[in-house]
């Protein structure tokens, strides 16, 4: 009977980690629905970028207030998680504060966790105020209603509750240590909980304190496991994906768009004077699937673009710097990423429901999620790419979808069709003769 808490803990842990693992595998499968693109080169630069941008938060601090608050929460969570290790060992083996024999070092550790927890609380309250009282504009775009809106607040509430549980657990422990209760070894320093929480539980009996300490302890670890499983359904996934996303981000200049290989093949064939237009088609080539130009659905995007979509934390810095969005156009780079994720999730669920095969659902990313009006509003200025704190590239998706519109559907705006036929006919976007290209010299 005495092992019941240990067994309960083990079940909780296995359940929590197991469900999370299952969802992460689903996530990886979904990302792999994207086309292949090789990003295994230049490992040194990639590591450096990841260290700078994800670990070092260099792009976050371009906006100093949000950046500073974010670093507090980030560092806080990272370091307080060391405590989770102790909680897991204690939970599994029925020990209490297993690291206590570290002595002074343990006091420093617990003491700094407490200070960090307080700082995190303050930062999160500031975040909550920015979202709900000051109502910062970028949190209130058209795409930020419903789930995305509540998701942003849910995360803050989660974190507040977790921090308070951590401090409550410590405060009760501290009181129990003062009462010299059995099993409660004198260990740790409580520079925050001793004044912030302890006064509320002053004068309670030892058994009441034990109930509070145990409840807070259990709720805290259960909360962490629930939060872990919340990630997959939330923008909060960025805490994990920011790392691979910055590692695999494009290293070439922002302005360099990919040259479509499928097109290169066609162009080479057209330019080849030896090519025989009446040749019998190569039977091997015939069986190959005809390449689709551009993207109309998530499967036409590459896996980096799909990972980008899961990484997006909907902060809206991209949208707040997008010239189209700033002047009231429908385009919002953040929405491009959110739409891509939503559609990818839909495709993933479709595959789950149909024994691993995608069944055509009559929907696609283009039209059902992203409209042509949004796509044609983009100036390709790279403001969204440059500002993203986790190296997401919405522009590459916009360009792939334009390629589909133009090359597969011939659905460019009329003026652009005129421009393109000018280039085709006289080598300039305007209807001027190529033979007049030097007239400027003598005008």
């Amino acid at each position: 009977m005495q092992y019941i808490p240990n067994i309960l803990f083990l079940l909780l842990l296995v359940g929590g980690v197991g469900y999370f693992t299952m969802n992460i595998r689903k996530l990886i499968r979904n990302i792999n629905l994207g086309l292949d693109v090789d990003r295994k080169d230049q490992k040194n630069i990639r590591f450096k970028n990841m260290a700078k941008i994800a670990l070092g938060q260099t792009k976050m601090v371009r906006r100093p207030i949000a950046g500073f608050l974010h670093i507090i929460v980030y560092v806080g969570f990272l370091i307080i998680n060391i405590e989770v290790l102790e909680i897991i060992i204690d939970g599994l083996f029925g020990t209490h504060r297993i690291f206590a024999p570290l002595g002074k070092a343990y006091n420093v550790l617990i003491g700094s966790f407490e200070i960090l927890a307080l700082l995190v609380l303050v930062a999160i309250i500031a975040f909550w105020i920015r979202r709900n009282v000051i109502k910062i504009k970028r949190f209130f775009s058209a795409e930020m209603t419903g789930w995305p809106k509540s998701d942003g607040n849910n995360i803050l509430y989660f974190e507040i509750v977790l921090m308070l549980l951590f401090l409550t657990m410590n405060a009760a422990d501290y009181k129990l240590q003062l009462l010299e209760a059995a099993h409660y070894v004198k260990a740790g320093a409580f520079p925050v909980s001793s004044w912030m929480i302890a006064p509320f539980i002053d004068g309670l009996s030892e058994s009441a304190l034990i109930v509070i300490e145990r409840s807070a302890w259990w709720l805290h670890i259960a909360g962490i496991l629930v939060f872990l499983n919340y990630l997959y359904f939330s923008k909060h996934l960025h805490i994990l994906l920011a790392f691979p996303n910055t590692y695999f981000a494009k290293l070439t200049p922002n302005g360099q768009f990919t040259n479509s290989e499928a097109v290169t093949k066609e162009v080479k064939l057209m330019m080849d004077p030896d090519a025989d237009p009446y040749a019998t088609p190569d039977p091997v080539a015939e069986t190959e699937e005809v390449a689709k130009f551009g993207a109309s659905d998530v499967m036409d995007l590459n896996w980096i673009q799909l990972m980008n979509a899961y990484t997006c934390t909907e902060c809206g810095r991209c949208t707040s710097e997008c010239p189209a969005n700033l002047t009231g156009k429908k385009l919002s780079p953040r929405k491009i990423m959110m739409d891509t994720r939503d559609r990818l999730e839909e495709v993933g669920k479709n595959i789950d429901a149909n024994n691993g095969e995608f069944k055509d659902d009559g929907k696609q990313l283009l039209g059902d999620y992203i409209t042509t009006e949004e796509l044609w509003a983009c100036t390709t200025c790279n403001a969204c790419v440059e500002t993203c704190p986790v190296s997401i590239d919405p522009l590459s998706i916009i360009n792939e979808m334009r390629r589909y519109l133009v090359m597969e559907e011939s659905a460019a705006p009329t003026e652009l069709n005129n421009m393109m036929s000018n280039i085709e006919n006289n080598g300039a976007p305007w209807p001027y003769n190529q033979m007049d290209r030097l007239n400027w010299v003598n005008e």
């Binding site: 200049p253 097109v263 162009v267 130009f293 002047t327 390709t380 200025c381 500002t387 305007w430 290209r437």
Partner: protein
């Protein structure tokens, strides 16, 4: 044009067995757009003054295909690129300079993958180089003390991380350079990129060029300097929209230097 411009043509150089130091890629705007033609002439004036051995392709030049690529027509882009690369490679071109950041980006970054690798410079980079090496001296005080604000072209700045060259060149005019609130990495686009130049803007509350002109006007400038023919057109229109033509002029850096 009062002054006679010397504009050697690549085919003639080739026939005379001469390989010029650099090829000036004029671009479609620089060849055909009335406003941009002035920029081409100003840049040639600088090249002539600094005795730069250069040439243009002339009628052998064709659109880089950049605009087609941004509009999604990868096919047309690659057709243009392959044709241009054939010409450039036949002349053994090594170094290219252009006044158009879009051509600059396209030639520099997107041509290599299709067989055309060259050292490509934006004209502000080349002018910066000429000044630094002492080949070009800025003597006149035409712009001393004038308030000039520089609008970063997206395809020079954010796209290729070049923020210094145009500012170095401007500094040499002894003008008073005032940055807009949104500058360098956070500079606002003029509204022409991504083939927008050739279409009506999508529905919205205002035009991007007007918003960017407001950014520029906040600095109370005498001159808005640019390094892109499209930005030039968009901001000139913005200035007209704000009825400020009398007080503020929009000039390319090449024009500023040609007058110094």
């Amino acid at each position: 044009m009062s002054e006679e411009l010397k504009v050697p043509i690549m085919a003639d150089c080739f026939a005379a067995d001469k390989q010029p130091e650099i090829l000036f890629w004029v671009g479609s705007a620089g060849s055909f757009d009335d406003r941009a033609k002035k920029i081409s002439r100003a840049f040639v004036k600088i090249l002539n003054k600094a005795n730069v051995d250069f040439a243009v392709l002339g009628t052998e030049e064709s659109c880089t295909g950049d605009i087609a690529k941004r509009a999604g027509n990868e096919f047309l882009f690659q057709m243009q690129a392959v044709t241009n690369i054939e010409v450039l490679n036949a002349y053994g071109v090594k170094r290219i300079v252009t006044c158009d950041p879009h051509s600059f980006n396209c030639l520099k970054n997107e041509y290599p993958g299709l067989g055309g690798s060259y050292e490509v410079l934006h004209h502000t980079q080349f002018i910066d180089e000429l000044i630094k090496s002492g080949r070009l001296k800025i003597e006149a005080d035409t712009y001393k003390g004038k308030r000039i604000t520089f609008h970063d072209p997206c395809y020079l700045g954010r796209s290729n991380n070049e923020y210094d060259a145009p500012r170095n060149v401007l500094a040499s005019t002894k003008a008073n350079i005032i940055e807009m609130k949104r500058n360098k990495q956070t500079a606002l686009c003029c509204g022409a990129g991504g083939a927008q130049m050739f279409k009506e803007p999508e529905k919205g509350a205002m035009d991007i060029n007007v918003l960017r002109t407001e950014d520029a006007l906040e600095t109370k400038p005498h001159i808005i300097a640019t390094g892109c023919p499209y930005c030039n057109t968009m901001l000139t229109d913005g200035i007209k929209n704000k009825e400020k033509e009398a007080e503020v002029s929009v000039l390319d850096i090449a024009e500023l230097i040609a007058n110094s």
